[in-house]
Structures are given as C-alpha cells and as structure tokens.
Amino acid sequence: MSKKEESKSRRKFLKTGITAGISAAAGLTGGGVMANKAFAGGAFKKVKVLTTDGKVIEVDEALVEAKAAPETIGRKASMVGLPDRKFVMVVDLAKCKNARACVDACQEGHFLPKDHEWIKLFYLKDSPQTAPYWFPRPCFHCDNPMCVSVCPVGATYKRTDGIVLVDTERCIGCKFCMTGCPYSARVFHWKEPDVEQPDVAYSPETNVPAKEGTVGKCVWCADNLRKNKLPRCVSACPMGVIYFGDMVEDSVTNGTETVRFSQLLEDRAGYRYREELGTHPGVYYLPPSNRSFTVESGFEGHDEEIQKRYEQSVNKYKSKK
C-alpha cells in the first residue's frame, strides 16, 4: 500500500471516532498479528478507547477489530503487491492423505459453492510402475502466467509479490484464461452462487461476494497475507502438508514449523509441476518419499461423492499395470 493511501485510510479511521483505530491502522503494515491473536484469545472482551471529543468509552474488542479492519482493498490497491515480498508455497506430497481440510477451509473462507473449488485434490500416478500419490493443487501463481497474457480486458493481473488475482468486477467471463491455464486452476461461476455471500464491499483480494458468469481461482488468501496471516489451506491442514512463505526471507512455514525455503528444496528434492511448460509456477512440490500415510488411506472417511471422483482414475491406473 502506498504512503498516500495509508494516510488516507488513517484519516478515515479518525473519522470513525474511535482512536483505537490508529493502532490497528498501524497493523495494516505489519502489526496485525498481535491484534488477531488477541481477537482469537477471548470472545467479547471489553476494551477502553478514546473518542475524538475526548471521552473514554468501553466497547467490545470484537467491535474494535471490526471497525479497525482495513478499508476494502479495491482494484487499484489490489494490483500493488505487498512491498519486499515474493510469496512461495511448498507442498509436501509425502504427508498428504487427502484429508481435504484445505478444501473445506477454502470453500468456507471464500464462501464458494460446492461445484466451485479453488484448491483441488488429485489422485495421480505418473507412470505404470511408479506409485500413486495425492496431489493438492491450488493456483500456482505463475511468474509467466498464461491466464494473464490472454485476458482481453485486464481482469487478471500479476503483482510484485507474486500473487495473481482476478477482478470479477472487470471479468467479462470469456473463459479464455481457463483454456490458457494448463493446470485447470480456474473455475467458473456457471450459476448464481448457491452459498450465501456476506454483505461486504467487493475486493479482488477475496473475490467476495462472488458473481455469476465470472471466473474465480485461488488467491493465496491475499487478504490474510495483508494481515500477516497464513492462507486458510495452510493453517487448516492437520498434516502440515502445505508450507507458505517468502522467497525474500527464504523461509516457509506450515504453521507449526518454520524452515529455510532453499534448504527444504535441497533436502527434499523439491520440484515444480510441469516445469517444461515454461509458466514458472510459484508452487513447489516435495516428492512423496518416506510417506507418513499410505495412499489408500486417502480414500477413507469421505462421502460417496468424493470416493466416486477418483473411480475412473483408479481403474485407469490399474488397467495400465
């Protein structure tokens, strides 16, 4: 966020009459973690705040958080990356057992309809003799994104911090980006979303509220990153499969352990999916060696619909043996 916009947003907070907003506005640039922790700690704790006319009042902490929430990041602001950041994701295939907590957290967090998944779990097997594995696929936020190249109206763009966003208020729904993406990462709102959308101002960083006839995809939870929080799939995963971090800092974390990004790739022979396509994905994979779970365990505990998804692939892989 530029200095100018920052000061503008500060003025706005003062106008709300709650001076506590000032400290939270500082959180915009980095101190947000603290506020979030406090919020998660106790529900409805009262805090004292000073109003502009000099009165001290007591309000719900939750209310302060709500009021202090940064003003909606519009199209312009969403095009600017967070300064000095280059986000990166590492997915450890050895730990994935198709628990689908990432999918659920993503669907819930972004108010996505059932048939509109931003992160998908694939059951893959590369060649007849190799072992099958589970493959979580978010958007790869490529450094040479085909989807951005082909968009005729500039509805999708790449930021300096690596994130590729879609502005569904600009998107005309021509779906060219969907044929452009070789990873099927983009999905379409074929009908009016059947999940109730929250009554918030639209931001390309969240793509909420969703719009019929537009394209959506994983945003790496750009709204969370702005608040110094991890993407929803990362924090939701019970196995710690997904690491997220910053290439500038050379560190990635899955929420419980933080490791050096370069070291992790070196130790575990990290690679990117289909390097030969030249899209330069921002998501790295660690091969499924020394697995924590058997691949079969991924089929357990899901309803029939999920089981059925993989039927065709299971049969295909079997027949090729």
């Binding site: 048939d115 998908k120 694939f122 059951y123 893959l124 493959f135 696929r137 085909m146 190249s149 082909v150 968009c151 005729p152 109206v153 500039g154 600009r170 998107c171 005309i172 729904g173 021509c174 779906k175 060219f176 969907m178 044929t179 452009g180 070789p182 990873y183 099927s184 983009r186 999905v187 379409f188 709102h189 074929w190 009908k191 009016e192 719009k211 019929e212 006839g213 537009t214 394209v215 289909r274 396509l277 899209t279 619909e305 999920i306 059925k308 998804r309 993989y310 039927e311 065709q312 692939s313 295909k316």
Partner: protein, 440 residues
C-alpha cells in the same frame, strides 16, 4: 448481346420475384422466424438461468458456440475467394455468382461473432472489450480483425451494389412501390454511369478486393491463434493459422456450390448458373480439399508419431470416443469431394452439390473435434463424480441457438435476394453470354 438487352433480360427474369411475393416465400419465412424465435427463447433461458443451462462446464468451457463461431467465420471466405481472388484474376465465369458470394461473406460475418458472445458469461460487460482492451490478448486481435473485416466487406458489397441500385432506379419495366424506388434512388448515390464514375467504382473495387483477401487471411489466422497460442494439447500447433485458413476456404466454396444449386432452382437461373460454374467451383473445392486433407494429415501425424504423453492421450480419445466423428470429418469429408469431382464421369450438378453438402457438414464436425476433445484432455486428469462435468454434451439451449443462427442466415439471405436480384445486373452487362454457353 449488348449491355442493355442483357440487363433487360435479367430484369425480366427477376421481375416476378422483385414485384410480388409468393405465399410460399412467406410460409418459409414464417417457419424460419419461428426457428429463430425458438433460438431467442434459448438465449433468454441462458441469460436468466446462467451458463449452467448449457452443456459447458469447467473443463469444456467452450462448446458448440465456439464451433459455430469458427464455422460461420469460415463461411465468410466464400466472398473473399469468389469476389476477391477471382476478381483479381478477372475470371469471367464468376460474374453470375459474385453477388451470392459477397452476401455470404457479409451475412456470415454478422452472425459469427454472436456465437462468441454466447460464450461470454457477462454480456452486460461486453463493452469492456472496447473500453479496457489489452492488446496482448488474441481476443483483442480478434475484435480488431473482425470489425475491420466486417467494415471492409460491407464497403466492398456496397460498391458492387451501387450500379445495380442505379439500374433499378432507372428501369421502367418493373412496378415497384414508391418507397422502394426512393430507397434505390437514395442508395444509388446519384450514380449515372459516367465514365468517371465507372472508373472510380472499378478502381475502388479492385483495391478493396485485394484488401479483403489480406484481411480475411489475417482474421482467420488470428482466430486460429486463439487456440494456437495456448499450451493445450492439439491446439498448441504452428500449423493452425494456415490450416484454419484452408479449412475456411473449403467450407466457403462448399457453401457457394450449395447456394448456387438452391438459387438456380428457385429463380430458374439455368442459363446463367451453368454446369460450368458447378464444375469450376467443384474443382476449386477439390484442390482445397486436397490441401486441407494434407494439413490435417500433417497435424495428426506429428502428434501421433512423437506421442508426447498428453498428445497421445488426445489421439487416443479421438480414435475411441470421437472415432466416428473423426472418420466422417477427416476421411469422408475430404475423400468424397475429391472422388466426386475428380472423376469426370461423376461430375454432375447434383453430385457436386452432394459433395459440397458433405464437405460443409464434415467441416463443422472437424471444428467440433478440434475444440471439444482437447478441452476434455487437460494435463491434470478430470476427477469428477458428476457426469456433465466429466464430458461435454450440448443441451437444447445450445442446439436451438445453433438452429436460430442458421435460420437468421437464411432469413437475411431471403430478404437480401428480395431486395436485389441475386445475380448482379451490372456485372452481367459486360459478360459475353455466348461464352458461357459454349464452355458448357
């Protein structure tokens, strides 16, 4: 035969059609309008219900609509070919069919883009293509190309109309309602046939015909690049530009033969549209079919022989799920026209027309198996439990809009041929009529 006599003869020929309208004409029009209205009802369903009413889903994001789009754009090549190329080569025999060709071009260029609009999820934002254009996108190239092509072809069509409007304005033999005479007078732009006017029209038409050929090649290449520039198996091919251009000429010349047959029957134009026209257009179809077959072979051979995993999967799909379509489009569609026109014994007007119908239908199917199987073969496998997400099948909405598109094509043709003779009066004036007869 001198010019005036020839004109009078043609006017006499078209007199009943320009003067009165038969009940049959109205009946057919009514049927076509009903089909078109049915298509519109499909459109209303799609706009109110969302794209979920179509067979398109997250993998096959473009279906029959884009197939129709490429197909109609391809038909517009009839004009570029007959009026453009043959105009430059100054072929005498093309003159009776020149008007048909130009009408095909303009009408199909008007209908084609509507099918791409149907692929667009937010029609209310269509103008963003103009107010927020990104020149890096092949769709923007298309917007520029198609608009230029449409304007160019319209100017070319109008240039060829001016002399006819003047003839219709000046003639006394046909009783036309006052308003129509006024319209002709207005559209003739005061053309009286002075040597200077004739020279200007002739010059600008030659210039435009050269330009139209260039524009047509560019537009269709750009169309091919919408597919060619992506990384998708089957699309990511350098041959796509020229391959699409050849395919377009193929369907364009096929449609010309069909239209020649239809109008020859309706207006009894046996003495103007002769067997020579069918044979000449047929030979053109044969040559183009040979090229087109060669390109198709090149494209699939390299994909199959190299057998990159994803290409192998696509080829496998084409030879299993889409097997009969592949055989019809790429074997029958190419071999039958070549055989029928190639063997002199088989070259009858009826046979050539049948070959043309097969060619045009096969080309539509060919477009279908270029678009759909690729979209059904993504790099990451489609893992779905819902059948409609798994493989594409067009719904009634898509079929009725397709039928509506064909209907409006015929409606516009009917109206145009009611307003002006389907054979250009002015073009025919200079033709040595005996030559046509002798060559037959």
């Amino acid at each position: 035969m001198n010019d005036i006599a020839q004109q009078d003869k043609l006017l006499a020929k078209f007199k009943p059609f320009l003067e009165t309208t038969s009940t049959r004409w109205y009946l057919i029009l009514l049927v076509l309008i009903l089909i078109f209205a049915w298509g519109i009802s499909g459109l209303v369903t799609q706009i109110t219900g969302g794209h979920i009413v179509t067979g398109m889903r997250d993998n096959v994001v473009w279906g029959v609509y884009i197939v129709n789009f490429i197909f109609f754009m391809g038909l517009s090549y009839a004009g570029a070919l007959v009026s453009g190329v043959l105009h430059l080569f100054n072929s005498e025999w093309r003159k009776p069919i020149i008007r048909m060709a130009e009408l095909v071009t303009v009408i199909s260029l008007m209908i084609g883009p509507f099918f791409i609009f149907l692929c667009i999820g937010r029609l209310d934002r269509l103008h963003y293509l103009f107010i927020h254009p990104r020149i890096q996108s092949p769709i923007s190239w298309d917007v520029i190309g198609i608009t230029t092509d449409l304007i160019g072809c319209f100017i070319y069509l109008y240039l060829s109309f001016i002399e006819d409007f003047a003839i219709l304005r000046d003639q006394k033999s046909i009783n036309l309602p006052k308003w129509r005479q006024k319209v002709y007078k207005f559209l003739a732009l005061g053309y009286t046939g002075t040597p200077k006017q004739k020279k200007i029209i002739h010059k600008s038409r030659t210039l435009m015909s050269a330009m139209i050929i260039a524009i047509a090649i560019i537009v269709y290449s750009v169309l091919a690049w919408i597919f060619g520039v992506t990384l998708q198996p089957g699309w990511d091919s350098t041959i796509f530009g020229p391959y699409f251009v050849i395919a377009a000429i193929f369907s364009g010349s096929g449609l010309m033969i069909i239209l020649m047959w239809i109008f020859r029957r309706i207006y009894h134009l046996e003495e103007f549209i002769t067997k020579k026209h069918f044979v000449n257009m047929g030979v053109l179809l044969l040559v183009v079919a040979a090229f087109y077959g060669y390109f198709t072979f090149c494209d699939y051979l390299t994909k199959w022989y190299g057998s990159v995993k994803i290409n192998a999967e696509l080829i496998d799909k084409l030879f299993t799920e889409f097997n009969w379509m592949f055989i019809f489009a790429n074997y029958f569609g190419i071999i039958i026209p070549i055989v029928i026109v190639g063997i002199p014994h088989l070259r009858t007007i009826r046979n050539i027309t049948i070959a043309a119908v097969i060619a045009v239908v096969a080309l539509w199917v060919n477009r279908y198996i270029i678009v759909i199987p690729t979209l059904e073969t993504p790099f990451l496998p489609i893992q779905e439990s819902r059948a409609d997400w798994l493989s594409y099948s067009p719904t009634w909405v898509e079929w009725s809009l397709t039928a509506g598109g064909v209907a409006i094509f015929i409606i516009l043709f009917k109206l145009a041929s009611k307003f002006l003779p389907i054979i250009s009066l002015s073009e025919m004036s200079g033709v040595d009529h005996r030559e046509l007869k002798i060559l037959e």
